[in-house]
């Protein structure tokens, strides 16, 4: 049929009757072209088509869903409350920090003065609470989030930066890269297994957004590494802490985001 030739409305009516009677069959291109041109037929078609999807879910689909689910029904232990999960995550965090620090010299603790110690400890512990809550929210679908994931990570990074700038003095860098690289490498090496531990814990729930989950897990692993470095590093000056210790947090978060993104694109769809 040549383009632009109008098909008679009655012919289209007949075809629509035929097509809608046998759902799933096909509409000819001519009829489709006519629909584009004729207001009356388009309205009729829209009306019929709107009725079509609004129809109830087919019995077969529903039956299949019920059969599949009933076949695998087993009792499950319920996930704990958000506060309890967050508390568990914080305890795990503290246990790992304590275990790692016990194997190292706590030189940082001796170098810091009291205001520095109180200030940085407050920032680090607030960060742990914030990230643990963020992770707990992500483990349960439909939980009400008070702060978005990205804001939690942002608040932590910003408060750490401001805290370091306000609390620690600027000193002329001494072997800035060599000593800094050592801290960065140690921090990242520590962050890898820690992120795996937290990933494993979080998978007990049903996390949905893997990219934001990866970022949060990376951030909490990075924060743990920063905490350990803070108490074990003898270089407590602003430049070193900002670039090399802060770098651990940034790189761990970025790596977590990347891994989460790859998993959401190419990994198994769910659990």
């Amino acid at each position: 049929m040549l383009a632009g030739v109008k098909t008679d409305c009655k012919v289209v009516d007949a075809e629509l009757d035929r097509q809608f009677a046998g759902r799933g069959s096909q509409l000819s291109l001519d009829a489709q072209r006519h629909l584009d041109e004729c207001e009356r037929c388009r309205t009729l078609y829209s009306y019929l088509a709107e009725e079509f999807p609004a129809a109830a879910v087919s019995r077969e689909v529903e039956h299949h869903i019920v059969q599949t689910i009933q076949g695998s029904l087993q009792p499950v232990s319920q996930l704990r409350s958000t506060a309890a999960i967050a508390a568990q995550l914080m305890i795990v965090f503290l246990l790992i920090v304590a275990a790692v620090i016990s194997k190292m010299k706590v030189v940082g603790l001796e170098v810091m003065n009291l205001p520095q110690l109180i200030g940085i400890s407050t920032i680090l512990s607030s960060g742990v609470v914030l990230l643990a809550l963020t992770l707990a929210w992500q483990m349960r679908p439909g939980s009400l989030r008070r702060i978005p994931e990205w804001a939690s990570v942002g608040i932590l990074a910003a408060s750490l930066m401001v805290g370091i700038v306000l609390l620690f003095p600027w000193k002329t860098p001494d072997a800035f890269v060599v000593r800094g690289w050592r801290c960065l490498r140690a921090g990242l090496i520590l962050a890898v297994p820690v992120s795996l531990v937290f990933w494993f814990l979080v998978r007990r729930g049903a996390p949905l957004g893997l990219r934001s989950l990866g970022a949060t897990v990376g951030a909490i692993a990075g924060l743990l590494a920063v905490t350990v470095l803070q108490f074990s590093c003898d270089l407590q000056d602003m430049g070193h802490l900002l670039v090399w210790h802060g770098g651990v947090l940034v790189l761990a978060t970025l790596a977590g985001t990347l891994v989460g993104d790859c998993l959401s694109r190419f990994g198994p769809p769910f659990r």
Partner: protein
């Protein structure tokens, strides 16, 4: 459980259908969604509202389905000229006019918010739960969506 499936499925069906996909894809998404709901049943707490929990899973089922379709389509190679017919029900875009058409022109996140608030009759807090967002963000999205719809209605009216 059967009653739950029967009561919630139509709402999920309409939700999946709003993303302009074929009937067979909607059926696949619906089954996939129920399977996910079943697998993550341990995360539901009876004290929490049910619909946001279900819709949060449904939202991600739809996202994963979209990614899967895009991956599949990117690997497909056209070996012949497509047939000159359009399958009925395989395309859910029958040149609809009015509000439905305008809703389709909204960004997905805003459309989701409007559909959940106005069609599924959920509260702001429930929508925030379902979309893994905050109440403030939902208010903002709803406000933007209404402004955009108002703009469209004014344009179409002139």
């Amino acid at each position: 459980m059967v009653e739950l499936i029967q009561r919630v499925s139509p709402g999920l069906w309409r939700y999946f259908l709003s993303s302009q996909i074929s009937r067979s894809d909607v059926e696949d998404l619906l089954q996939d969604c129920w399977l996910r709901i079943h697998r993550s049943r341990h995360t539901y707490r009876p004290s929490d509202p049910l619909l946001p929990w279900i819709f949060a899973i449904a939202r991600h089922t739809r996202l994963d389905g979209y990614r899967r379709r895009r991956r599949r389509e990117s690997r497909e190679t056209l070996v012949a000229t497509p047939p000159e017919v359009i399958a009925l029900g395989e395309h859910s875009a029958p040149a609809t006019t009015g509000l439905v058409d305008m809703l389709e022109r909204l960004p997905e996140s805003q459309r989701d918010v409007v559909l959940m608030l106005k069609v599924s009759d959920m509260s702001m807090e429930e929508v925030a739960r379902a979309t893994s967002s905050t109440v403030g963000a939902i208010k903002q999205k709803a406000h933007r969506a209404y402004a955009r719809l108002r703009e469209m209605i004014e344009k179409e009216g002139t």
